[in-house]
């Protein structure tokens, strides 16, 4: 019985690499996803998937179908879009979601125009997005570096970041760390996303960021516990998704996200903090 869990990984190197890759993305993406969720920026991931197109297009114009060039280009484009959206939302009346929507649409249109000018009809994003089953050494190093940098940066920025989420006005009154913190955080988001797209494809990169975070919300009110839980749920979904893909022949990326989704639905129903079952049948209030 234990064989079913163990053999796929012992027999095949690509499965081991897939597991390492998934653990890396869960480690970096989980905490970042929790903060995104708390700041009501959960749809940033999908917007970013489109916003990186002009960067990838310029990389393609400069270096042809070279994945490093397109990834670096995408990174720049993503950072510019995220930072611009962040600045607009801080200094004008427009909020984060609207400013991001405006900039990513602009970016996407620009990207499509650049690609069409070249005259070729290559679907750049289709080429750029990878699959979890094909992780080579450099990609694994990329993923691990990204999650290491993310964890370290979050450790450094933890207090201003939390305060930004829960009481930004107070933060502004006691410190000037608010804006730089937010911008560095956006940089981390883009880094995790673009690295994720390059290595794993959109679905996995965004899904591993948002679903475990959303699931963890139903188990605790404490941000630290939420971050730890989201990492744990991410790793567990990755493991179960890979095993499902191996034994039940499901495509790998979707299988992982379906597992994370199942974790989310279970949390939604059974979670201690605001889960549906607890809302429907609240326990008795303590009475004197």
């Amino acid at each position: 019985m234990l064989d079913l869990f163990y053999t796929p990984f012992s027999e095949f190197e690509f499965m081991q690499r897939a597991l390492v890759g998934v653990i890396a993305i869960a480690l970096g993406g989980g905490p970042v996803g929790v903060f995104l969720m708390l700041r009501r920026m959960s749809l940033t991931g999908d917007a970013m998937a489109h916003a990186i197109l002009p960067g990838a297009a310029i990389g393609y114009l400069v270096a042809g179908l070279s994945l490093p060039a397109m990834t670096i280009g995408g990174l720049f484009a993503g950072v510019i879009v995220a930072v611009a959206a962040g600045l607009v939302s801080r200094f004008t009346a427009l909020k984060e979601d609207a400013s991001l929507a405006a900039f990513y649409l602009l970016s996407l249109a620009l990207g499509v125009t650049i690609v069409s000018l070249r005259g070729s009809n290559v679907d750049l994003l289709h080429v750029l997005f990878g699959t979890v089953l094909a992780l080579d050494d450099s990609t694994l190093l990329l993923l691990s570096s990204i999650s290491t940098i993310t964890v370290l940066a979050l450790a450094l920025l933890y207090r201003p970041l939390v305060l930004e989420c829960v009481d930004p006005v107070f933060l502004r009154s006691v410190s000037r760390a608010g804006t730089p913190t937010h911008l560095i955080f956006l940089g981390l988001v883009v880094m995790n996303l673009v690295g994720g797209f390059h290595a794993l494809g959109t679905l996995l990169a965004v899904g591993m960021m948002m679903l475990p975070a959303a699931a963890s919300r139903f188990w605790s009110n404490d941000i630290t516990v939420m971050m730890l839980l989201s990492v744990a749920i991410g790793i567990a979904s990755g493991l179960s998704g890979l095993l499902l893909s191996f034994h039940a022949e499901l495509p790998a990326g979707p299988a992982i996200i379906l597992s994370a989704g199942a974790a989310y639905v279970l949390s939604l129903l059974l979670g201690r903090e605001g889960g549906v079952l607890w809302l429907a049948w609240p326990g008795k209030h303590l009475e004197a």
Binding site: A248, E249, A255
Partner: protein
């Protein structure tokens, strides 16, 4: 007075516009404008039509027609064309809607009509492509059916060129026969127990059916599908068990999965092969005949060594 001047210049402008279209209409009478959906088909149409047709291709060299999304310029090209050549067999999922939305009155010809089709997935699990494998041109016998369909369509649209089209088609069919003989010769030169090839997606099943080399792929019949861990594991086990020497990546696929498989099994990545699109015109597979020849030579070189 302003209104009279405005009316006069408006009238003059309209007349100028109307007159400008006359030379264009005069030119149209010379060459038959046709559109082919992808490069392989475009090359065949060019060979049959010769000087009498002007061919525009929608999905260019190295383009992937499985996941192509058409542009408004493509719609415009359709309206200007007299015939639209498609592969059929649901290769181009986007063409029906494009034809409808462009409102073109061109004749829509399915080049693969009359071809004996193969079912979608050999393993029984259908990745949603629903039905036949569209890569019929990988067998020269089917390519001849394509050429016959193209020739008949061109004759139907342009009676005056009947003799030219028939002559061109006959010459091209002769060259196809020569390539087929070369393919069979090279296949015969490969030892029977080594006739097995791994490619990225299931593009060569018609080639397999016609010439007897076994093809295995992790991705299904369309590049839109995603491989499962079991598919990849199966292929790795097969490569290890049968000691397959080389794996191949097509020009329209992502090489990374093949590279991973090659690294894990010790197989080599062979030369790039061309399955769904030609290479750029000066390249190793700039025409359909060059493509078939390049592919079989790549397969044979890797398997015979």
């Amino acid at each position: 007075m302003p209104t009279r001047r405005a009316a006069f210049s408006l009238l003059a402008g309209c007349l100028a516009l109307a007159a400008s279209s006359l030379p264009a209409a005069a030119q149209n009478a010379q060459k038959l404008k046709v559109v082919a959906t992808f490069s392989i088909l475009g090359d065949m149409v060019r060979n049959v039509g010769g000087e009498r047709v002007e061919v525009t291709t929608l999905v260019g060299p190295n383009g992937d027609a499985h996941v192509y999304s058409p542009t408004p310029a493509d719609g415009r090209r359709l309206t200007e064309a007299g015939i639209v050549f498609t592969n059929g067999l649901k290769f181009e999922g986007w063409i029906d809607r494009l034809v409808k939305s462009s409102g073109t009155r061109a004749a829509k010809i399915e080049a693969a009509k009359g071809v004996k089709t193969l079912e979608g997935e050999a393993g029984g699990h259908d990745h949603g492509h629903g039905g036949s494998d569209p890569h019929a041109w990988q067998s020269i016998g089917n390519a001849k059916i394509y050429v016959a369909n193209i020739r008949d369509a061109l004759i139907a649209a342009d009676e005056a060129g009947k003799a030219t089209y028939e002559a061109n088609a006959a010459a091209y069919l002769g060259r196809l026969d020569a390539v087929e003989a070369e393919i069979r010769g090279l296949v015969a030169g490969i030892p029977a127990d080594r006739r097995r090839i791994i490619t990225s997606h299931d593009a060569f099943r018609y080639f397999e059916e016609a010439y007897g080399i076994d093809f295995v792929a992790p991705q299904g019949v369309s590049t839109e599908s995603e491989a499962s861990a079991k598919d990849v594991a199966r292929i790795i086990q097969q490569i290890r068990r049968e000691k397959i020497a080389a794996v191949f990546v097509e020009n329209v696929s992502d090489a990374r999965l093949m590279e991973r498989i090659a690294q894990e099994t010790g197989a080599r990545i062979g030369a790039k092969v061309y399955s769904d699109a030609l290479s750029e015109p000066g390249g190793p597979a700039g025409t359909y005949i060059d493509m078939m020849r390049h592919n079989i030579r790549a397969f044979s070189a890797a398997l015979s060594s």
